[in-house]
């Protein structure tokens, strides 16, 4: 789950990391009020869950409260990087001596957190040459101590009082990373302003799987309504715009299903990973969800492991009993409790395929025929 910039900054500030004075507002009037309080030039930043807002016109400066209201009004009516702007952050403009980059994320290959730092922060960090970027893995059972911060400072050429401040900030950022179950905490730019360091931006992603224990963490919705419904059911769902509704179990299997449908000339309406062991009720709701995409055909591709074929079959029968399914269902069913599942399907007047490519070809045929 991504956090808005202002949320990340609130977390930073609560841990003792310097952020610019400012406040999130949702109206031009409030923007003016905040600008008055700040009493100086402010920056008005669109709050969306995407980067490169500056290039999209989503960040503007204002010298007076009136101007702040005006640019806030402009930005609040914009769509930046495909995201409709509903909130802006109004902040003091800070003096920038140098822009650093600092992030902590997870390196899957190393199976560890990795700190990434550069003396050349700012918008073009992705283009910065490797030699100006220090990467330092962290042992979770050791953590981040000052020696590690000193080593990073040495490698990015940071010295003097600012390096001490950097070290303090790094320790706090790692604390946030661990305590908030973050997958990413990123400050770009981390601004050197005199002897202090100020987090001029924040990017944080919280592990969805850890939200159950992140009490007090604001919930940020970044899904379409149907994706949200799927998520609430514990299903991974992405809309794709085609006409073949797809349900499979397992992310790999779901991707394999899409690949096969596309190979035969089909257009998948969605990606839906029903996961493992969802049970009858969950599977029922997954099928109901598929119907909401108004497909021409439903393609169900199950290779049962932790998922049992009889559960899937019973779910399909349940949906059929509760309401008419208006489109054909092509179902492929093998694996755990396959015999029982196929029997249930057949008893209810449907056919169950055994071979994936045959089922996929059939689904494409129906979709493209209609």
């Amino acid at each position: 789950m991504k956090l808005f910039e202002y949320m990340g900054k609130e977390i930073f500030a609560s841990y003792g990391i310097n952020v610019p004075r400012g406040k999130m507002v949702e109206t031009p009037e409030d923007a003016s009020t905040v600008a008055k309080e700040i009493n100086g030039t402010v920056v008005v930043k669109s709050q969306i869950l995407a980067g490169k807002r500056g290039k999209g016109g989503g960040i503007k400066f204002a010298d007076t409260p009136e101007e702040a209201a005006r640019v806030a009004g402009e930005i609040l009516s914009m769509t930046v990087q495909g995201h409709k702007v509903e909130k802006v952050l109004v902040e003091e403009k800070i003096k920038i001596d140098q822009e650093l980059y600092l992030a902590i994320t997870i390196d899957g290959a190393a199976k560890k957190p990795v700190i990434i730092a550069s003396s050349q922060g700012g918008m073009d960090i992705e283009e910065v040459d490797d030699e100006f970027i220090a990467k330092q893995h962290v042992d979770v059972s050791v953590g981040v101590y000052p020696y590690l911060g000193r080593e990073i400072c040495r490698r990015i050429g940071l010295t003097g009082p600012v390096s001490k401040e950097f070290n303090r900030l790094l320790g706090l950022l790692y604390k946030i990373f661990r305590e908030k179950d973050a997958e990413l905490v990123e400050i770009n730019p981390l601004v050197i302003s005199g002897d202090t360091l100020i987090a001029a931006d924040s990017k944080m992603t919280i592990d969805d799987d850890a939200l159950f224990r992140q009490k007090g963490m604001p919930y940020v919705e970044d899904r379409t309504s149907i994706e949200k419904k799927a998520h609430d059911l514990g299903l991974a769902f992405v809309e794709l715009g085609g006409n073949i509704a797809v349900m499979a179990n397992g992310a790999g299997m779901s991707m394999g299903s899409l690949d096969t449908l596309v190979h035969y000339g089909g257009k998948p309406a969605n990606f839906l990973d029903a996961g493992g062991g969802t049970g009858i009720e969950g599977t029922t709701k997954a099928i109901e969800l598929l119907l909401e995409t108004n497909p021409k055909v439903i393609f169900i591709n199950i290779f049962g492991g932790i998922t049992r074929c009889d559960d899937v079959a019973n779910a399909l029968v349940t949906v059929k009993k509760n309401k008419e399914i208006p489109v054909p269902v092509v179902i492929r069913l093998v694996g755990t409790n396959e015999e029982e599942g196929v029997k249930i399907i057949q008893e209810n007047g449907m056919e169950a395929y055994k071979v994936m490519q045959e089922a996929a070809a059939k689904a494409v045929e129906i979709a493209n025929a209609g």
Binding site: A109, K135, D181, D209, G252, M255, G256, F303, E338
Partner: protein, 288 residues
């Protein structure tokens, strides 16, 4: 020979009294797995499917030799259960549970590496030494002995491919599910190294996915392997996954796409199937 587990592996099921635990204990026993016990706090002394239940792994290990453990424990409690197994001295730990917080996964793998425990998973279907021992959740009937080693990131897609292999007369030495999460205990390279050394394994099937750079790293090792490798990468037509800010870009530097993976694997000498069911045919060609 087989890798990681074999016919003598004594297995404990953590969380044996839950629904999934019970069901898959029955399935594993049916496959021939030597399940010597299960654990469930406060339920020591009971039996599930004829298997004795202990209060914890320590208690089980006081009574019987245990080589491996498989976790059927809900995600919020999985780290604690894994720590119990690792500190008790379990050498192979299979974690089926999905949706474990990634910080917990890092903690588990850190502790395991210190204690010399091999972690299969999390979010894995498990590991099957075909005809000898199954630890995990895949359906029994598709896993038959043979000479193909299989290593995969995803679950059901692997059953699909293994099912196709078996239908085409290719039995397996060992089938290893690395797990679908970003942080898992084993890498492709870890398993490929073992297959390369295993005298019974003649060829290897690698089932990958878009995202991350595990397949690219595997390619570097495949280049040095004497045994043929056939790969399938899922996700050619999948929507792009979420990106981890600039940090993700800095780490990946262009890796992770379908094309990057296929190119790396092909350059390393592996055959790459376009669709899952093409794997047996490519394997036949490679083994000619």
């Amino acid at each position: 020979m087989a890798i990681i587990i074999n016919e003598n592996t004594n297995v404990v099921v953590q969380g044996i009294t839950g629904n999934q635990g019970k069901f898959h204990t029955r399935q594993m026993l049916a496959y021939g797995t030597k399940i010597v016990g299960g654990t469930s706090p406060g339920k020591g002394g009971q039996e599930v499917e004829g298997v004795p239940v202990f209060d914890n792994v320590y208690a089980a290990m006081e009574q019987v030799r245990v080589d491996a453990s498989v976790l059927f424990i809900p995600a919020p409690f999985a780290k604690d259960a894994a720590f119990e197994a690792i500190t008790a001295g379990i050498k192979v730990l299979v974690i089926v549970t999905e949706h474990i917080p990634v910080h917990d996964e890092m903690d588990i793998i850190d502790l395991a590496s210190r204690k010399g425990t091999t972690v299969v998973g999390p979010n894995t279907f498990g590991i099957v030494s075909s005809g000898k021992c199954k630890i995990g959740i895949p359906p029994n009937q598709f896993f038959v002995p043979g000479s193909i080693g299989v290593v995969a990131r995803s679950g059901t897609l692997t059953y699909e491919i293994v099912g196709n292999l078996t239908a085409n007369g290719f039995g397996q030495t060992t089938v290893v599910g690395l797990g679908g999460d970003r942080v898992v205990g084993l890498s492709f390279v870890d398993v490929l190294e073992k297959f390369e050394k295993d005298p019974e394994t003649q060829a290897v099937v690698l089932v990958g996915e878009i995202g991350g750079n595990a397949e690219e790293e595997a390619s570097l090792f495949i280049k040095k392997m004497t045994k043929p490798v056939v790969a399938y990468i899922a996700g050619k037509s999948a929507p792009p996954g979420k990106r981890m800010g600039h940090a993700g870009a800095i780490i990946e530097r262009g890796k992770g796409t379908f094309n990057a993976k296929v190119e790396a694997l092909t350059a390393a000498g592996a055959s790459v199937a376009t669709l899952p069911f093409e794997v047996p045919e490519l394997l036949r060609e490679k083994l000619k």
